[in-house]
Amino acid sequence: MTMDVLEEKTGIKGAHMATAQAAINMQENKPVKMQGKDVCVHYGNKQALFDVNLDIRQNEVTALIGPSGCGKSTFLRCLNRMNDTIDICHVDGDILLDSEDIYDPKIDVVELRARVGMVFQKPNPFPKSIFENVAYGPRIHGLAKNKAELEEIVATSLQRAGLFNEVKDRLDEPGTGLSGGQQQRLCIARAIAVSPEVILMDEPCSALDPIATAKVEELIDELREKYTIVIVTHSMQQAARVSQRTAFFHMGILVEEGFTNDIFTNPEDQRTQDYITGRFG
């Protein structure tokens, strides 16, 4: 990428440009957390993903973008084996978490999902109190020895999700009574509560209004320090705002992946260029 192109496309000039470039250089050395190797996915006879090879790096936000039906959500759901719940879904290839194949028969899917948490497109708090929603994960994994510890975990998780101050006086009220944005942050808090290493987010803001979206995006940026995050999004602006790396999917093929700045300012592939400039999708 040349400085001219970057300046021209982003409108960032001079000094800002230098820091942006510095930030990119800093990130290059992050270790690989998860790795997809020749991942193919079939739904019955229909192939949804073709030989996807993608590295997810630690303490980064990786955005998966692409038009509807391109396979980005399918890939995301492979990362914690959520596709297992779909009978006709068949996954080939290897997906490694810390160099361990998660589709190995020896791997316990329950443990895997505790390490790779998930936040869904539509906020789906359980029909329980706010406290019980967050305490759900720690309870089933036996993370707290006593009530005090459980309360500690719940409070920390809510704090990290930036929700604590809003709900601390009504922890026993139903989680379904919160606003959409609060519900989504509750779901993030719920995912954080089991101390995952990776958090998968499937269009976490698509059901939210702009202000709630901004809050969740801010949160994602903060969470990056502790967790590895993979986010599927339809919003190119969102991908540009929150992610360090971006992978562009098209018709089940991983077309291009790289630093977000590169993808958005200087895409190598014509299809990526067309998509991010809004020519299709």
Binding site: E111, R113, A114, K122, N124, P127, Y136, G137
Partner: protein, 462 residues
């Protein structure tokens, strides 16, 4: 006559519909977009105006006319209404009608012949009057409706409101029938409570109405209030229902969970209908299954353990009844469990919960209201069930909670009270209504209680 009217009206409806349509298109100058309502609505408008009032009149006529006709005949017959007692008068009218319009006549005499002639002549006139009235209604309705069709006519609103009216009438019929049944239960029960004090009935520990009149003749005054104690029946009912629920709730609920969350689509597609077939087996079949297979088996099993088991036992009836109500529990629970959003299951699985943890902690609490109502429906069925108990649990009103003994239930006793020739104002017969009322109150209380529980513990997911 009735069916002739209906046939004529049907023809009129079709004609009026076509006429209304045609006229509407015509007044719009062959351009239906000028009309407020589409031509079809104009057709329906005219059809309703033509046939609606006539239909209502026919129905009202059917309901009201027989009573009026009897009064007219009796008024012409002089003082016969005062001379005869109420049942005699009813028999008299029945015979007179049978002579006039055909039917089985008890016996004839001069007075009945005369009444029959009156019936015949009044009926003759009434038919002319009815036909005339209907013709006028149809004519006025059709004329006025036809004239009023013009482009701005809000025919659509009229049709919508008419449909709503029809729907309201239908629901009113259902509700009014229920109210009517309850009221008749209450009035008959009040007659019973005049003979037997309420408290003796509700809290009495002894039930043997068959001995009510021993030695004393059928005089109501000699009724012994202490043999109408309903407690043994209630205990028997609750015992059998409890056993049935004890069988049906776990089996039904667990099979529902299996069907909805574990079974493959293929298994589910066959297993569910098969389970539902259980609900289609006539209770009489369950009854002899209970009496001929289960009861002897339990007896043999009990004896081998050194227990004394009567050949008709609450256990046998309860077990079979439990099998009978499994489909109510399983089918309804399966539906509500299925309707819990997949998003909740995914959310739970995404946190590393196993399938059973998800079901126990997320799915079942969300489905609780539906599951409770399924159980309530099953309990209501069990409480109201008669045949199995008659055949397998016996008629002896034993006051016991030992499931190995013979017990009886409220419904069975209602049957035995009303079977055979009975006077409809003896305490024994009226006791059946009081039992019915009691049963109704219990089921009602159960429903209200269940609604409360559901309201308190429900976890809403939308």
């Amino acid at each position: 006559m009735f069916w002739t009217y209906v046939a004529i009206l049907l023809v009129l409806i079709i004609t009026a519909h076509l006429l209304g349509r045609t006229k509407a298109v015509h007044v719009a100058g062959e351009d239906p977009s000028k009309l407020h309502s589409r031509p079809g609505y104009h057709g329906a408008y005219l059809a309703i105006l033509t046939a609606g009032p006539a239909f209502i009149t026919i129905i009202l006529w059917l309901l009201v006319w027989p009573g009026i006709m009897e009064q007219l005949v009796l008024s012409r017959m002089g003082d016969i209404a005062e001379v005869l007692s109420k049942p005699e008068l009813q028999a008299f009218i029945r015979d007179a009608k049978a002579i006039a319009f055909g039917g089985i006549v008890g016996f004839t005499d001069a007075a009945k012949e005369e009444a029959a002639r009156h019936f015949a002549s009044i009926q003759q006139t009434s038919q002319y009057v009815e036909s005339l009235v209907l013709a006028i209604m149809v004519g006025v309705g059709a004329y006025w409706g036809y004239k009023s069709i013009h482009p701005a006519l809000r025919a659509r609103h009229f049709v919508e409101r008419s449909v709503m009216g029809l729907l309201m009438v239908c629901s009113a019929v259902a509700i009014l029938t229920t109210i009517g049944i309850v009221l008749s239960l209450i009035f008959e029960s009040l007659m019973f409570f005049r003979k037997v004090p309420v408290l003796d009935f509700v809290f009495g520990m002894h039930w043997s109405p068959q001995s009510a009149f021993e030695g004393a003749g059928a005089e109501a005054a000699s009724t012994d209030a202490h043999i109408f104690g309903a407690i043994p029946l209630l205990v028997g009912t609750l015992l059998i229902t409890a056993i049935a629920i004890f069988v049906a709730a776990p089996i039904g609920l667990l099979s529902a969970i299996y069907l909805s969350d574990y079974a493959s689509a293929k298994v589910r597609a066959t297993a569910k209908p098969v389970l539902e077939i259980l609900a289609g087996i006539p209770t009489v079949v369950y009854g002899f299954f209970a009496a001929l297979v289960v009861a002897p088996f339990i007896r043999g099993w009990g004896e081998s353990l050194g227990l004394s088991v009567s050949s008709e036992s609450a256990l046998a009836a309860g077990l079979v009844m439990g099998i009978m109500i499994i489909p109510f529990v399983s089918s309804l629970s399966d539906d509500v469990i299925n309707s819990v959003p997949q998003a909740l299951r995914d959310g739970s699985a995404g946190l590393g919960a196993t399938k059973s943890e998800t079901i126990m902690k997320v799915v079942l609490p969300s489905a609780l209201p539906g599951i409770v109502s399924a159980l309530i429906l099953a309990i209501s069925r069990a409480i109201g069930e008669t045949m199995i108990v008659v055949m397998a649990a016996g008629l002896a009103a034993n006051m016991t909670i030992n499931p190995l003994e013979a017990v009886t239930t409220v419904t069975v006793q209602i049957v035995t009270l009303l079977v055979g020739d009975q006077e409809f104002d003896s305490a024994k017969t009226l006791a059946a209504f009081a039992l019915g009322l009691l049963l109704f109150c219990i089921t009602l209380a159960l429903n209200i209680f269940a609604l409360r529980v559901v309201k308190k513990y429900r976890e809403q997911y939308d």
